[in-house]
Symmetry: C2
Subunit: 369 residues, 2 copies
């Protein structure tokens, strides 16, 4: 019996899930938004906000999973009523789609999170701000990603438009963090759970630029425990990424969640016995999870973002490959656009993060040259 995995969304995450499907002999089908998607090899084109389109797609696969978290929950609930196997379930996805629901549930579970409140008026906002040092982070409950729907504010007047639009809003303390970490793990539908080492993520202009694995001198045990409580408590299946703030006093606070393979886990393709993409397929098919051990002691990933000068990087393999370092170049087959995630580099080292980073950076510079 060949198993068929259906992925909604045709981005690079779906593209990278095609690889383990080929290697393990699974069938794979993607519902993509456009003809020229990174996952086009396995894709049919259709609108994921149209119930009939998603229903028809679901009929052709054994399990439905996701490249992104934007599929309307009412569509997924209808699929569940139809008897479709949806992983993660809409019950869990709610917490990835709605930040208010997520904060409430994490508070119930006793997971460490920033101070927060639901707000719906100028008075609510101003009182939270004055209680938290004159500055706070305002977020729309839904619709935010990659820096959208998030605003640092110092007064309610900074949020007049969102309040006028009647958006559901939450406000959070502006955490005085020293760095950001991400804890990647996976849980299959039988409840087996497994984590990779916690990593350090470095953002530039609100976008992930670098990932260092493992995060140096981090509290790995605490990070893994937080992820396990969330995965179990929210009923997550597949890969779960927990973005964390590390504060000056070494405390970890949960920032955001993603219930799918995540940019912070791309290093696992080359740097781990089991990649996050293979693990996600195993988890949603309810197969035993694979080893999350490193293939080397250290890995550094650099995102290849569309640079100032038009460049898809594909013309520059010659420059990069003469370096003969351990860098693995991954490109997503995308047209160039400034700042776009076009691909990534992972370099490995048995010596140090600094060595892995130096190799990755040399390859990065060669691809830009």
């Amino acid at each position: 019996m060949l198993r068929t995995v259906g992925i909604i969304g045709g981005g690079q995450l779906a593209r990278m899930m095609i690889v383990p499907a080929i290697e393990l002999g699974f069938e794979i089908k993607v519902l993509a938004e456009a003809e020229q998607s990174p996952a086009k090899l396995a894709a049919t084109v259709g609108d994921y906000t149209d119930l009939q389109t998603v229903r028809d797609f679901a009929k052709t696969v054994d399990v439905v999973t996701f490249d992104h978290e934007h599929v309307p929950l009412h569509i997924l609930e209808t699929l569940i009523a139809d008897g479709v196997n949806v992983q993660p379930s809409p019950k869990a996805l709610l917490f990835a789609q709605n930040k208010l629901a997520m904060r409430k549930r994490l508070a119930e579970l006793g997971v460490p999170i920033p101070a927060w409140a639901e707000v719906s008026s100028d008075a609510d906002i101003d009182s939270f701000i004055s209680a938290h040092g004159g500055v706070a982070v305002l977020k729309t409950a839904t619709g935010g990603y990659d820096g959208k729907g998030v605003r640092v504010i110092t007064a309610a007047s900074d949020a007049t438009d969102w309040l006028a639009e009647g958006k559901a809003l939450l406000i959070e303390e502006k955490v005085n963090f020293v760095r950001e970490l991400a804890q990647l793990s996976a849980r299959n539908t039988s409840g087996q759970w497994s984590a990779w080492p916690v990593v350090e993520t470095i953002q530039r202009a609100g976008v992930c630029a670098e990932v260092h694995s493992p995060a140096a001198a981090a509290d790995h045990e605490q990070a893994a425990k937080i992820a396990e409580v969330i995965a179990t408590g929210l009923g997550v299946t597949g890969v779960l990424a927990v973005e964390l703030f590390e504060t000056v006093d070494g405390k970890l606070l949960v920032n955001e969640l993603a219930m799918r393979p995540h940019n912070s886990g791309h290093f696992t393709i080359d740097g781990s016995v089991t990649s996050q993409f293979e693990q996600h397929l195993r988890a949603v098919l309810d197969l035993p999870l694979g080893s999350t051990e490193g293939t080397s002691a250290f890995a550094v990933m650099l995102n290849l973002l569309g640079p100032e000068t038009a460049n898809t990087f594909a013309e520059r393999f010659e420059n990069a490959w003469v370096l003969e370092n351990t860098s693995h170049i991954h490109l997503y087959g995308k047209e160039y656009r400034l700042g776009r995630k076009m691909g990534h580099i992972t370099a490995l080292s048995s010596d140090s993060l600094a060595d892995a980073r130096a190799q990755a950076l040399a390859t990065y510079n060669a691809l830009l040259a």
Copy 2:
């Protein structure tokens, strides 16, 4: 500029070339014989013996390469006249398609080969047999693979049918070998050449069953030298597999050639920094070749051949994955058939071939259970 690789043939070799194409951001198109081919994700269906079909396919890609060696040379020569980039070229492929041409050319190059002769009569055959101990191997010059077109004979009367059919034939001494080796290497169109360690191949019933890398106590230098002389002398581009006999006195003799990724190199997916499939794409696109260093000191590959009891192995992942050894399972998405190459297992070890083999065997048995 995105590069598009075109592969003629939709078997598991084409399937496994799709993976590095996805990872490196190349476009890939496959011309397959049937709808349900292992490479169907990237395939259109068409007859590779039909000139117009192959011509139309070639127009849509930047380079044409192969999953098998059966495309008629006159078709490829027409493509070349059309200005199509065909790698390896028909000039080189001739030596993979025609064993008489291959033996003549290897003899000219001074490469060690078994004693051989072109034969076209009972007298030719009987005289060769009596000069070589009463037994010999008769081969049709073209059309032989996986044991077809090869016959061990003791008299011309064993070959009456082939002689009557007027087939071009060659006869070779039956080499008294102690084991079989395979030397895998690759050469790009600029002439850069790179070899993996020579491996031991173990055949059962004429089909490759196991590959051990590196071959224990083998003359790696001699094997690599032979492969380099052949790759350069025959103008091979892409992956070249040289199958070798090792004789009792430690001499190496060339048995067969393949000018494409080869079963003896499947271990490179997990066991080498650069897999043979990635290297083949780099070579035919004339990009710098990647490192052929091992990811572990030892690798053992076992073929998953369709067993007596119908089993695609895909139902048995649970059995295999609870073992938690280093085995990587690869399935080709094929329907079950007795003796069919359905997939393979590669296990790695830093300790010994015996350790790698024990792991692979445990996984193999779990998939059969």
